[in-house]
């Protein structure tokens, strides 16, 4: 029994990710019938990138919902979704990416596959990490707001041309179970499956390429990392600047210098790896009194 508990404790994050993904995508009948859930919980967003057209989804995707509202004829700003992002961001920051996002879980599992040479980062990482902000501004905000059809309605550009989570969790299962949808396949589906395939293959060699370089939701939550209730603090008295935390960090963040970097997904590996116990979350019982 002790061994089971210790194994669960060691893999706590993976179990939380699996549990939360199962909980928020629990409409099993959807997968069997090739339909989606239509109940009242669909009016509420889940914190992670979770397509509302996934057959199992019980809630709405915040990025999809954001585009749906601002691209509609009636609204050009969404208080509901911006407010939701502020609520989640203020409490958790990018903890959501590390612990609650289904597509993050997929990338984590793929990274566990052994590979000849695991890369710390992609070439051009310095610039590539800003791509997610460009995608947020361009594909999530500007294009849905400005490129309108004849009745004044925009499109969800990010969902349509980029989102690999939608392709994996919604597109593939729905198309696989519906012959009429299979008849409608075209270049767009091929393009999206291509993006998904590249990202899944990359995920074996690089840790979380989508979260690092492309995810607009991670870009939003990352902005809250420095001020969120759940933050990391480094005890200046204990930290020796040995950089063991950076070596252990799968996102390659110098945690001892920037414990609240917008890139940090709060996986907690740095905290465990610190030989001096200098890194501590603000909501922990043993939180650091003097922050650096």
């Amino acid at each position: 029994m002790g061994k089971v508990f210790s194994s669960v404790r060691r893999r706590l994050r993976t179990w939380v990710q699996i549990g939360f993904t199962a909980l928020t995508n629990g409409y099993a009948a959807g997968f069997a019938k090739g339909t989606i859930y239509k109940g009242p919980t669909k009016a509420f967003c889940v914190p992670g990138l979770n397509c509302y057209s996934c057959p199992g989804a019980l809630g709405a995707c915040p990025i999809g919902s954001f585009q749906a509202v601002i691209a509609s004829r009636d609204y050009k700003f969404t208080f509901y979704i911006v407010g939701f992002l502020m609520l989640v961001g203020a409490v958790f920051g990018r903890f959501v990416c590390g612990w609650l996002c289904p597509f993050g879980l997929v990338q984590d599992l793929l990274y566990k596959i052994p590979f000849i040479k695991k890369l710390r980062r992609l070439p051009g990482d310095r610039f590539l990490k800003y791509l997610k902000y460009v995608i947020l501004a361009g594909f999530v905000i500007i294009l849905p707001l400005t490129v309108l059809d004849i009745v004044g309605q925009g499109q969800p550009w990010f969902c349509k041309y980029i989102c690999p989570s939608g392709t994996l969790f919604a597109g593939i299962p729905l198309v696989a179970s519906s012959p009429p949808l299979q008849q409608a396949l075209g270049w767009l589906f091929t393009w999206k499956v291509g993006i998904l395939a590249v990202l899944l293959l990359l995920s074996v060699a690089v840790y979380r390429p989508f979260c690092r370089y492309l995810c607009p939701l991670g870009a939003v939550y990352g902005l809250f990392n420095p001020i969120a209730f759940y933050r990391f603090r480094v005890d200046g008295q204990k930290c020796t600047g040995c950089a063991v935390c950076q070596k252990a960090c799968p996102m390659d963040i110098p945690v001892y210098k920037t414990p609240n970097s917008p890139e940090c997904i709060r996986c907690g590996v740095c905290k465990k790896s610190c030989p001096h116990g200098a890194i501590c979350p603000t909501l922990s019982k043993n939180r650091v009194k003097e922050a650096q």
Binding site: I36, A60, A68, G83, F224, I227
Partner: protein, 48 residues
Amino acid sequence: MSFLRKNRSAAAVLLIGLLFVAVGVWRGEVEVVFRKAVNICMECIGLG
């Protein structure tokens, strides 16, 4: 109280977020989200 003092920015964002959600609900944005979420989104699945 000291917890809130140490997390002033987060508390302020949380309050504004709550206010925004309330305004969004009052404006009827929830309907738009619900309508979008209960119909298969052709763009999202790569057919639209």
